[in-house]
């Protein structure tokens, strides 16, 4: 008390006003807008770089024929045997192809310079100089000309000379279409525009724009099969495990004491927290021909085999089990907390009424799970539709493509397959289908779960 008295009596200590703090050095850090922009920038950049750009690029790549063969950067022009074959077969320009493919001999300054370098007799060089600009389409014709020179070189020298003037285009690479054309015109000055265009297209090694991917996607019988597999996989896993079995776990653990219930929840959580590689390895141990299942069934006279891959049916069983065990835990947690939120009085009232357990489940628990079930179904549909790790690591789509689902097909088309020819463009077209479904479904969730309720106006206004 006495201390505070002092404040009143000794004038200066009486509370007057102290200066406000100096304006901060970075004033823009003190407004919602300025600070908000700074704080959200890293997230925004990551979103642009790894969500927005890839979404757009998936669309862009889907309209190209990019593959391992074409590369992903621009290409060059190469008169390869393959390109000549295309020129013959697709454009019906067999004659042109033949001309380009054959070695040609052109008497030019470059060749003459080479001769001088090789210390060939100056008379020969002078003799050839007179025929500067002439072209010969066969070695024989050209060599005859050389032999007819007054100096009469020996056979070995003739060969060396003709080699120096060989101007074959076969397997030559040109960085640009212009370079290709001037080289081709050197051999055949009378190329028509049609021939030029055909040559340009046939010899291009890079990727180009195309809508073929979508045509192929629609017409390929493989597409239908993968589509069917995917729908079956999603529906079966969702129904049996992600909602059905999850609900069973949630309800069952609700009816037993907390301690065992906790243990069971942890057990069923193991698949979710385990890295996919090791989790699937455990299933392989269970299913492989030297694994647990085989050894166990051997006692009953059943031949050991790789249960995971020996038939399409078994493969599906395992794919659904493996994915389902992972998916069940999310539903289990959400359903369990929804059941926990049901007022205890409802249960007591019901048991007084003599309702049996299943009636409790039917009339009290299930009605309360409506929204959670909708949520889990929505969420897991998208997850399953795009899930890849477990299936890739277990059956890898086998046996014989029986369990090839859409996401896995993308992986096999564009990212990794045994043939080694990765079709990026086609894979992107397949991915685009999932991207579109993903965007549509995520927007749908936004509507479904009414995000407006989440937006509360900030209470500090500047």
């Amino acid at each position: 008390m006495s201390a505070s008295r002092d404040i009143v009596e000794s004038g200066p200590a009486r509370i007057g006003t102290r200066a406000a703090p100096a304006r901060p050095r970075f004033a823009w850090l003190n407004s919602s807008k300025g600070l908000g922009l700074v704080l959200i920038m890293p997230a925004l950049l990551l979103v642009i770089a790894f969500f927005l750009a890839p979404v757009i690029l998936t669309g862009v790549f889907a309209f190209t024929n990019m593959s391992t063969a074409t590369g992903i950067t621009g290409g060059a022009y190469q008169i390869s045997p393959g390109a000549l074959r295309v020129l013959t077969d697709r454009y019906g320009m067999g004659e042109l192809a033949e001309r380009l493919g054959q070695p040609t001999y052109v008497v030019d300054e470059q060749g003459l310079a080479a001769l001088a370098e090789m210390e060939i007799d100056q008379d020969i060089i002078d003799g050839l100089k007179r025929r500067l600009g002439e072209t010969f389409s066969s070695r024989r014709d050209f060599e005859r000309v050389i032999r007819d020179l007054p100096t009469r070189p020996n056979t070995r020298t003739v060969k060396r000379i003709s080699d120096a003037f060989s101007r074959s285009l076969a397997n030559a690479r040109f960085a640009s279409a212009g370079a290709l054309m001037s080289a081709a015109e050197a051999i055949d000055p009378e190329l028509t525009d049609d021939e030029k265009a055909a040559l340009r297209e046939a010899t291009y090694t890079g990727w180009s724009w195309t809508t073929d991917n979508f045509r192929r996607l629609i017409t390929s019988p493989q597409t239908m099969r993968i589509l069917f597999n995917t729908i079956f996989f999603v529906a079966a896993t969702l129904l049996i495990f992600n909602t059905g079995f999850a609900m069973l776990l949630a309800i069952a653990t609700h009816y037993i004491p907390d301690r065992p219930a906790g243990i069971f929840r942890i057990i069923w959580f193991l698949p979710r927290i385990s890295p996919a590689v090791i989790y699937v390895l455990l299933w392989k141990w269970l299913a492989w021909d030297t694994g647990f299942l085989s050894a166990f069934l051997d006692n009953f006279g059943i031949r050991p085999r790789n249960w995971m891959l020996d038939s399409a049916f078994n493969a599906w069983v395992f794919v659904i089990l493996i994915n389902g065990f992972v998916g069940a835990s999310m539903g289990m947690l959400i359903f369990a907390s929804a059941i926990k939120a049901i007022p205890q009085s409802l249960f007591h009232a019901a048991s007084v009424d003599g309702a049996y357990r299943w009636q409790q489940i039917r009339h009290i628990i299930l009605p309360h799970l409506k929204w959670p079930i909708l949520f889990v179904t929505c969420y897991q549909t998208l997850s399953l539709l795009t899930s890849i790790e477990q299936t890739l690591l277990s059956t890898d789509g086998g046996p014989g493509g029986a369990t090839e689902i859409w996401s896995l097909a993308i992986y096999h088309t564009a990212l990794n397959n045994y043939a080694g020819n990765l079709q990026y463009g086609y894979g992107a077209a397949m991915a685009l289908v999932l991207v579109v479904i993903g965007i549509v479904l995520s927007l749908l969730y936004l509507r479904l779960f009414n995000y407006r309720a989440l937006i509360i106006k900030p209470r500090i206004e500047h």
């Binding site: 890839p54 069952a252 057990i267 927290i273 890295p275 141990w285 065990f325």
Partner: protein, 274 residues
């Protein structure tokens, strides 16, 4: 709990259903330290031979320690990036009066539901074009970006629980909005940041498909890719070795999970993908 109803039939039924899982995880441990006679699953000798991979690097493969270091680096970097970026952006969405805030919020929700894995083809090509293919940096950035929407969403939730009055008091005390965030609000959400860090770390540690596609080889291999390539190698089939490497790989996950269960269950329940 309805006391007069018997619970043991339920426990029994659950035990039978759970038996395959228990068996698998039990043998994950048992098989790494024992040998069993062929065709039997009852071990008859104790051995540490399956753990030889720790000090003996098989030809043609990177050292397990190199790979472990890569995994650690990968998980630590992604989780760090996720918590830094999310704790910044989450605050904006929760508290700051910025234009188009509703749009950002909706965007985060859509991104959170959106399956980023569908973008992997485009990301693969982009990383090749900009020269980040087969580098840890590339795959770290991608993984962090993919985990970020969930992180932002969770952080927004944590910030929402901090009383507005603390921020109001802060600005009245003369602190700038930045200082209020840094000195007054961040300390309140520390447990949330820790939970998110842990969660993101475990996600990074477990990730397989991204490093498999974007950084598959040699020096940058992480444990999951290493183990998968070990298993995929038909010439050296050794289940006990796979399991030992697997146990080595999963042990940190299990330990962290059991120790910090309560932190994690909420996040898992709140909608991680899978």
């Amino acid at each position: 709990m309805t006391g007069h109803l018997k619970t043991w039939p339920i426990i029994l039924a659950l035990s039978i259903l759970s038996a395959p899982l228990v068996l698998m995880y039990a043998y994950l441990f048992i098989d790494t330290v024992t040998n069993s006679p062929p065709g039997s699953f009852i071990p008859n000798e104790f051995t540490l031979e399956h753990w030889a991979f720790l000090w003996h690097t098989p030809p043609g493969r990177p050292s397990i320690w190199r790979v472990t270091f890569n995994s650690l680096l990968f998980a630590a970097s992604t989780s760090l990036l996720v918590i830094v970026v999310s704790s910044m952006a989450g605050y904006v969405l929760s508290r700051l009066n910025v234009p188009a805030r509703g749009f950002f919020l909706a965007g985060v929700m859509v991104l959170h539901a959106f399956p980023a894995i569908t973008l992997i083809v485009a990301i693969f090509l982009v990383l090749q074009m900009i020269g980040l293919y087969n580098t840890l940096i590339g795959v770290i950035l991608v993984k962090a970006a993919i985990d970020m929407p969930l992180g932002i969403w969770l952080m927004k939730g944590f910030y929402d629980t901090v009383p507005w009055e603390i921020e109001m008091a802060g600005i009245q005390d003369g602190a700038s909005r930045f200082t209020v965030w840094r000195k007054l609000v961040l300390p309140q959400v520390k447990p949330g940041i820790f939970a998110l860090w842990l969660f993101a770390f475990l996600l990074g540690w477990s990730e397989f498909i991204l490093p498999q596609v974007l950084a598959p080889s040699g020096d940058v291999q992480v444990l999951s890719v290493y183990l998968a390539s070990l298993i995929a190698d038909d010439n050296n089939f050794d289940m006990a070795l796979f399991k030992s490497v697997g146990l080595f790989y999963i042990a940190p996950v299990l330990i962290l999970f059991f120790v910090f269960q309560n932190y994690l269950m909420n996040i898992y329940g709140g909608g991680s993908k899978g």
